[in-house]
Amino acid sequence: MIYLFYGFGSEYVLNDLYKLMSKKGYNCIEIDALKIKDSKKIINSLKHKPVTLITSAHFLLDKKNFNEYYPSDNVFYSVLEIISILNPIKKIFIPHDLTEPTIIYEEMFLNQFDFFISPCEPYTTLYSQFCNTVELGWVKYQKDKTIKVKNKAIWFISDFILHINMGVEPSFNLTKPILEQNVSVKFPLWNSSNEFEQYYKNLGVDVFDARTLTTDLINSHDIIITNGLSSLIAESYLRGKIVVNIMENSHYGDKKDHLKSIFPDLIFFEKIADFSFKKIPTSSSRHNVLQPFNVKEAVNLITK
């Protein structure tokens, strides 16, 4: 049996699982379609072989779809195309986003998978109408680790493409009213992250390396600032933190009401300039309900 791990860039969250299974002697192939120039060749070489597909990618994200958002020279298939080509014996979906495990249209295709590895409720129950769901905790959350931090609040900047498009200086000017209130910042791991990190650092902002584990940063701060539809909203919220969401310069589609309904204590600020610690409760009444990823059970499920 070949175990094919498949995903795209920062949305590929299966590397630890891949490394563990490879170490245990399973025949594993890892494809991050943004790192491999032509992953179609590898996929085509697996035709007529017994394959178990494990993916964290959006199902419809083929080359055409991907290029409409993030132009790339790489050549790759979408998850649904891979299923069509390889007809895998087992298909497992492990979401990379806790706030929105599936995006537009995707729920309708969950029945193409044998298992949806659910991070927590409400998804375990919600998606059980489409396919088998097994709750094994949050794939990005492995163990609690506290790191030394300077401020009580951190802003995980999302919708980074908007910042890349506007440029580093306008981005800094936009975020400044929050960052100057002793708020640390972390950018997503992206091609331009370095440039942004350096610029912000030079202007006195406390910046964490984009490669720092977000789980550790969430664990180490009291207040988590987010914007848009970041997965970190859910991750921080479910871990009992005070979570703020900045609406200015953010994309929600039609999901803002969804966000409000599943995270009733989420604190919204319409404008960046509105943000003030005085408007935020000093402590959270919620507890950590998010479980670390149960790797052992995941391997059992994939291989049995």
């Binding site: 409409e68 979408s78 195309e81 069509s84 080509i85 029945n111 193409q112 489409f130």
Partner: protein, 303 residues
């Protein structure tokens, strides 16, 4: 006159008066007129009840239509015009059964056997006819039909569910390989509600018929939603595709007089045409009923 007849006539004359006198006495004693009156009254009442039953059935039908309209009105994305269209479609689904039956039998019989062999199939129909034996003859594995009726009371049988169209959303149904909707009006009504998420229960593909303006097949992505003429909803080909993709099908294929057209679901624009027939001038602007196949997995450039 014979001797016998003469005697009989005299006998009758002689006994006529006392005979009727005795009979009337007996009848009065037995209250026969009263019974006859009561019988007549009962017959009249039965007729009244039958008339009331008929009237009541009509009222139920109207009531169901109103409930349907109400449910439709509950969807705030529908305008009042759309509600009128939907109510009209409901009426056509309920009333035009006979017309569809023969067509449906022929159409299903003609469908490619590959649609059925070892597959489980969900058939949505408005006809009361049981298509089970036709499908069994095509080596089908499992079969369920959903019959659209004007009763708001769901009736569940082994291989059939009778249900009011907009109540489909309340159904909990298992996974099927294929979905078939042969009646274009039922398809139209259900697709406008994205098939009430039935697409999420289909593993392989759906075969769905719709009334289309054929001139629009050769146009690119732009579309008008639909036109409503002579109590008939007629779609632009690309709008039909939009509805089919949104109902959970990644690739949609049609074949109009040998001209194949394929579209694929797209995050950004909803869908894109990936294979289009070369332009053809069609002068006939009347609608035609076209069969679409919606696939759950991409078929193009993957084999």
């Amino acid at each position: 006159m014979s001797y016998k007849k003469l005697i009989l006539s005299k006998f009758k004359n002689y006994f006529k008066k006392p005979y009727f006198k005795v009979i009337n006495l007996i009848a009065r004693d037995l209250k026969t007129p009263e019974i006859e009156h009561k019988q007549n009254h009962i017959i009249e009442e039965i007729n009244n009840i039958k008339a009331s039953q008929k009237e009541l059935l009509e009222l139920i039908k109207v009531n169901n239509l109103l409930i349907g309209g109400g449910q439709t009105l509950g969807d705030d994305f529908l305008s009042s015009d759309q509600v009128v269209i939907e109510t009209n479609e409901l009426m056509q689904i309920f009333l035009n059964k006979k017309k569809q039956d023969i067509f449906a039998i022929n159409w299903i019989n003609k469908l490619n056997e590959n649609y059925f062999i070892n597959k489980s199939t969900l058939l949505i129909k408005s006809s009361q006819i049981d298509f089970g034996h036709i499908l069994k003859s095509k080596k089908i594995k499992r079969f369920l039909s959903i019959t659209l009726t004007n009763s708001t009371q769901n009736e569940k049988f082994l291989h059939n569910i009778n249900i009011y169209p907009t109540n489909i959303k309340t159904l909990s149904i298992e996974q099927f390989n294929t979905l078939i909707i042969f009646d274009p009006i039922s398809s139209s009504l259900l697709l406008k509600h994205n098939l009430f998420e039935i697409g999420s229960k289909i593993k392989d593909f759906a075969v769905i018929r719709l009334n289309i303006n054929p001139t629009t097949i050769f146009k690119n992505k732009f579309f008008k939603p639909y036109v409503y003429e002579n109590n008939q909803v007629v779609y632009d080909d690309n709008f039909a595709r939009k509805l089919l993709h949104e109902s959970g099908f990644v690739e949609v294929e049609s074949n109009y007089k040998g001209y194949k057209k394929v579209s694929r679901l797209n995050y950004k624009n909803g869908f894109e045409i990936i294979s289009k027939a070369s332009n053809k001038k069609i002068t006939n602007s009347d609608f035609e009923t076209i069969t679409y196949v919606g696939y759950k997995l991409p078929q193009t450039n993957t084999k």
